[in-house]
């Protein structure tokens, strides 16, 4: 292995790599953002919805969680286009990741809300708060703290799952690296570089999560 030659090639491709990394981060951020908003709604409906709502949402989450992300991405890309919804690979792939994220976040939110003792709601009711107020000021702040570590975990999973978008031709970090490899034949070196870059992104998310966890921890 010629390390100097690798550095040379890596430097020459730096703009491509950065663009790929940027796209990976963009895809992940969008998927996590919308997946989380949708997921919170799903968690709330799973906890407080009537039996019909719960049943429908339950099928949705179980179906999504029981499907490989890869299949989900292919489905969003091919099935939606057959159905007449024309999405770019980038849009279809990000949409698939957001759905995947929402089903996981929904389950985490449901678990966290269920874990709050019923006495919290009763105390809040007894001082005259309405349910939306109870949810906003009493339940959600407690659930959020509970959710944070698992949510960070889901976020890192989404970053990893974004590599699968390379299959439908989204030039994110992995596909960028593969394109460079096909030109330079430096397979091991560039895959190693990709590994390091993904690690840095996920490590940063994890550290940020830890920091945030400490910031919002309830003193006791």
């Amino acid at each position: 292995m010629d390390f100097a030659a690798f550095l040379d090639q890596a430097w020459a491709s730096r703009n491509l790599i950065l663009a790929g990394l940027g796209r990976t981060i963009l895809i992940s951020a969008i998927a996590i953002f919308f997946g989380t908003i949708l997921g919170v709604a799903i968690g709330v409906l799973l906890t407080y919805g009537n039996i019909v709502v719960r049943f429908v949402i339950r099928i949705y989450t179980d179906f999504l969680r029981g499907t490989p992300v890869f299949v989900l991405i292919l489905a969003c890309f091919y099935i939606l286009s057959v159905a007449g919804v024309d999405l770019t690979p980038f849009q279809a792939g990000t949409f698939a990741l957001a759905l995947f994220c929402s089903s996981h976040v929904g389950e985490i939110v449901r678990g966290a809300l269920k874990a709050i003792p019923v006495g919290q709601t009763e105390a809040a009711r007894s001082i005259g708060l309405t349910f939306p107020q109870i949810f906003r000021y009493v339940l959600m702040p407690q659930a959020m703290r509970q959710i944070l570590p698992t949510w960070v975990n889901t976020a890192t999973e989404i970053v990893k799952a974004s590599t699968l978008l390379s299959i439908i031709g989204v030039v994110e970090l992995l596909l960028t690296i593969q394109q460079i490899i096909s030109r330079t034949y430096m397979t091991l070196e560039f895959y190693f570089l990709a590994g390091i870059l993904y690690f840095i992104v996920d490590f940063a998310i994890e550290r940020a999560g830890r920091y945030f966890e400490r910031r919002v921890a309830i003193p006791d």
């Binding site: 001082i127 005259g128 708060l129 349910f131 309830i218």
Partner: protein, 255 residues
């Protein structure tokens, strides 16, 4: 005849097939302090919880200042009030719970402020002053910034009582507020309640502390199997029980 502060008529409550309250009648006037005693399963906590509609009731009337709690009669039919109205009605009473139920993510002061700001629509500064006032009243004037997890059980219960009374309720409900406390922490909480009673606060207490019930109450109610079995002034009910059941229940109690 003027309307009593609390009027309960023929109150029935069932959990599925189990009838827990089998027709309760009682009234309270302003300034009354009534203690409900009875063995577990007699329905005393359920009665308390029907008064602020933490439990629905199936028949009868619970009215505060003439307002029926939770239901109204429309074309001769009993209809549940909308949730917003029920929330507003709940704010007429305050409740202290066996397990305190303070909000763990809020400081003592903010626990008290939440209802004042969100329900009473008070500016935060005013709510903060009221919170400070009540924390001082319960002997915790210097602990306003402490989180519930940093307080002892007795201190948490005093904050919980402050949270309820700060809302200026017409009636305070106390549900076995000392049952979850270590024995050495019981008195600090009972002292706070005695202090409120002296102030003229109308209070309905479910308690196992017979001496306390004897000393603080204007009336004692003995419940048995979902009914009021005996009621009257504490000296009468506690010292001269009419029924064998009450005599049995009081055996060994000191007051």
């Amino acid at each position: 005849m003027t309307e009593p502060l609390l009027r309960i008529e023929n109150l029935h409550k069932t959990f599925g097939k189990l009838e827990v309250l089998k027709g309760i009648d009682m009234t309270m006037e302003r300034g009354d302090v009534t203690s409900i005693i009875g063995s577990s399963g007699s329905g005393k906590t359920t009665l308390l919880r029907c008064i602020n509609l933490l439990e629905d009731y199936q028949d009868g009337v619970v009215a505060i200042d003439g307002d029926q709690i939770g239901y109204r009669t429309q074309n001769g039919r009993r209809v549940r009030r909308p949730e917003r109205q029920i929330a507003a009605q709940r704010a007429m009473t305050g409740m202290a719970f066996q397990h305190f139920n303070l909000f763990p993510h809020l400081t003592a002061s903010r626990n008290i402020m939440l209802g004042l700001v969100k329900v009473r629509k008070m500016p935060a500064a005013e709510a903060k002053e009221i919170a400070a006032h009540w924390l001082t009243r319960v002997g915790l004037g210097d602990r306003g910034d402490a989180y519930p997890g940093q307080l002892s059980g007795g201190q948490q219960q005093r904050v919980a009582i402050a949270r309820a009374v700060a809302m200026a309720p017409k009636l305070m409900l106390f549900d076995e507020v000392t049952s979850a406390l270590d024995p050495e922490l019981v008195n600090e909480v009972l002292n706070v309640i005695t202090d409120l009673a002296r102030d003229g606060m109308t209070m309905l207490l479910v308690t196992h502390e017979m001496k306390f019930a004897h000393d603080v109450s204007s009336k004692v109610v003995f419940m048995h199997q979902g009914r009021i079995a005996e009621a009257g002034p504490p000296a009468e009910v506690l010292r001269n029980p009419k029924s064998a059941r009450l005599a049995e229940f009081l055996k060994g109690a000191k007051f």
